[in-house]
Each structure stands twice: as C-alpha cells, then as structure tokens.
C-alpha cells in the first residue's frame, strides 16, 4: 500500500504536476473573481471566505475525475483488483494521495490568496484550520464519486454533478467557520461538525467506493 502511495505521488508529480496545477487553478479562481466582481475591497473581503472555499472545492473536483479513470483506461485497475491489496485499502490510499497533492497544498496556499481577496485579519487562522480539517472529506467524497463513474467515458462532468451536492455540508461548515472567525463569533460548532463529517467519510466511504469499483469492473 505504501508502494501504491509512492507510485501515485510520483505519477502526480511527473504528469504535469499534481500539486502545481491544482494549486494554480485555485490561484486563478482567486484572481478571476475580482475581475468578474470588480475591485471593491469591502465587497471582496465580505465574500472572500466563501470564494476561497468554493475555489478549494472546485480545484479538488477538477483533479478528481482522474483518481481512478487513468488506472482504468490503461488496465492497471483490473490488475490492481487482482493484486493482494484489499480494494478498500486501494481507495483509501488513492484518496489520501489525492489529498496530499491537492488538499494539503491548497491549505498552505490559501492565506496568500486570502490576501488577494482582502480577507479580514482575524480570519486567517480559521481559514487554515477549516481547510485542514475539511479538505480530507473532499478527497474521500470525491473518490466515492470517481468510483461510481469509473469506466464511463467523459465521466468527468457527471462526476461533478454527483459529487457537488455531497460537498454541500462540508462547504457550509467550512465557510461558516471562517466567516464567524472573521466576525469574532464562536467557531466551535461548525469546526466540530466539519471534523465529524471528515471522520465519518474517512471511516465509511472507502467501503462504499470499493463496492462501487467492484461493480464497475464486473
């Protein structure tokens, strides 16, 4: 399983850079929104927590569709399914490596982009914290969506459609944490909920995903 993790990370780096690109996309969203919305920093600061979370979510989403698709296309998934690794473990490793290559760098980069969007000062801590706690859930939910659509050509968009409603709770609690943090309100409730969602998805979804993959390979 460690071999698998290393392979996935290596592939992410080799093929046009897993990190670099997810990150770049995040950056670009943060840049485009001011172009679209206009440069008024009061408005921008007000919407910054939401935009940052939506941006993180979309960056995750974009790199998602290939979690299993590439392995399916070149036949590796068949071979991995016959290898002595439980499929649940496979899904877990894949989701984890997805997080390492997108969620984690996003979290680290977010403060800089917060600056671009005039995020108010007290919010930075909560920005990092909420992303750190929330993004693993994004990766695991995403892996579930990807395992449902594996084997469908151009599953990418269908995947988005399936996954986005599942992202709603994470998004709400995540953005709410930052907003409350920015206004100096209590953030314990949304943070706890965020943590609970993450733990829940980590514990349960790999099994659902493995089942879906098994069905898809059939």
């Amino acid at each position: 399983m460690i071999a698998l993790l290393i392979r996935d990370l290596r592939l992410a780096i080799r093929t046009g850079g897993g990190f670099g690109l997810g990150l770049a996309f995040f950056l670009i969203i943060a840049v485009l929104v001011p172009f679209g919305v206009g440069p008024d920093s009061a408005v921008l600061g007000r919407i910054a927590p939401g935009i940052l979370w939506v941006g993180a979510l979309l960056s995750c989403l974009l790199s998602l569709d290939r979690i299993f698709a590439l392995d399916f296309e070149d036949g590796s998934l068949d071979l991995l399914a016959t290898a002595p690794i439980p499929l649940e473990g496979l899904v877990g490793v894949k989701a984890f490596s997805h997080w390492l290559t997108t969620g984690l760098p996003l979290t680290l980069a977010a403060p800089v982009l917060g600056l671009l969007l005039s995020l108010p000062e007290p919010a930075y801590l909560w920005l990092i914290l909420s992303l750190l706690i929330g993004t693993p859930a994004l990766s695991f939910i995403g892996a579930f969506g990807a395992s449902l659509t594996v084997g469908l050509k151009r599953g990418g968009l269908l995947l988005s459609l399936l996954v986005l409603p599942l992202y709603v709770p994470t998004l709400i609690f995540g953005a709410e944490t930052i907003r409350r943090g920015a206004e100096g309100l209590g953030t314990a409730t949304p943070l706890t909920m965020l943590g609970a969602i993450t733990l829940g998805t980590l514990a349960v979804l790999p099994f659902a995903s493995a089942a879906a993959i098994r069905i898809n390979l059939r």
Partner: protein
C-alpha cells in the same frame, strides 16, 4: 496447485456467452484456449481471475493464486520500465526485479519511460510483470500480440521456466506459441439461447 474448472458459465453485458466449460489444469501444464473472435475467451479468463462473477459452475482455485495479464498492459507511461516493474513487485511483496528484466531482455530499456517504448517493448514489459507476482497460475489473454519472433521465444522460455517451477499457465491466443501444451477449443461451449421463458429469465 491445481485448477479445476467445473461446468463454468460466464456472461458479458448481461448475456450468457459460454456455458458448461470444464477442464483441469495441473502444475507444470500449459493450456491454450482457442476460439474465434468474440467467443468469450477474455470473459472466461476474467471470471477465472476473479474479476467478474461466474454465472454458474465452479472454479477450484482462489483468485489469490492467479496472475492475470489482459489485453491492456497497465503501464504508467510516465514511469520508467524499472519503476513500473518495481511497483508491481512491491504490490505483490516480492523484491527482485532483475530476473524479470532479464527474462524479457529489458535491461537496456530499464530507465526509459514507458511511453517511449514501441508496441512490442511495452508488451514485453507487461509480461515481465508476471514474473514478479510470484503467483502459481498465469492467466494470459493474447500475450504475444505485437511481439517479434525473438520476443515470442523469450516468452515461451519464461512460460516453460514457470511450469518447471511448478506453476501453470492458461493462455488465450490465436497464434502458435511453440509451447508444448494442451488445447481447448471453446467453440462447442457457446451458450445457446434460452427457451423463451418468463421475465425473470429474460432479464439474465
């Protein structure tokens, strides 16, 4: 190691395509499956490898004992030959990839990214994977596609060595491999259309 397939039936796309396939494969033996295009060789092999459930019948061997090689090689085009092979070795918990490289004359290509290989070189790498699985039963789907004559010989040697070590191989192919092998033609096992029955049957 002994593979017993008893009265196996397999379906593809919800449709039975083979039924009543029975054979026994013992350690040291090679069995070649023949049959025209579309008869269901690939499907049968996938069922034996545990990738899809059988419709009926029984396979005696646990899929854990099977190393499967499909039409596609499962190579990562940005990893080098050595990295590809090492990965599979680690997955199967073996360590030494040198014999596998050697058996398929890949030493000179070890550092080449898989995407820069020609069709036949890719195939050789795909076959070298079998050697690092350490599993007794090889289930191979048209393994010699794109291979030139000398590579086919390398392959035949590898199969022979594997059998000598107590392994066995089940191979679907259209061409002659130059191996001493039993032959099983799948044509007679083609599933016949079921009698028009009630809905439940029709759904199968």
């Amino acid at each position: 190691m002994e593979l017993q397939v008893v009265d196996l039936g397999v379906a593809r796309g919800g449709l039975p395509i083979l039924q009543g396939v029975s054979f026994t494969l013992e350690a040291g033996q090679v069995l070649v499956l023949r049959g025209p295009n579309g008869i269901g060789k690939t499907t049968l092999l996938r069922a034996i490898a545990g990738l899809q459930p059988a419709l009926s019948g029984h396979v005696s061997l646990d899929p854990e004992a099977v190393a499967y090689a499909a039409h596609a090689d499962g190579l990562k085009s940005t990893l080098s030959v050595l990295e590809n092979l090492t990965f599979w070795a680690q997955v199967y918990g073996t360590t030494d990839v040198a014999p596998a490289l050697q058996a398929f004359a890949l030493q000179n290509l070890a550092d080449r990214p898989a995407q820069n290989l020609s069709a036949g070189q890719k195939r050789r790498l795909g076959l070298a994977r079998l050697l690092v699985t350490g599993r007794p039963l090889w289930v191979l789907d048209e393994p010699t596609v794109s291979l030139d004559a000398s590579a086919v010989t390398l392959f035949a040697d590898a199969v022979r060595a594997h059998c000598a070590r107590g392994g066995a191989a089940l191979i679907a192919t259209h061409i002659d491999l130059g191996l001493q092998s039993d032959l099983l033609d799948l044509t007679p096992f083609k599933a016949t259309a079921m009698a028009q029955g009630d809905f439940d049957e029709a759904f199968l």
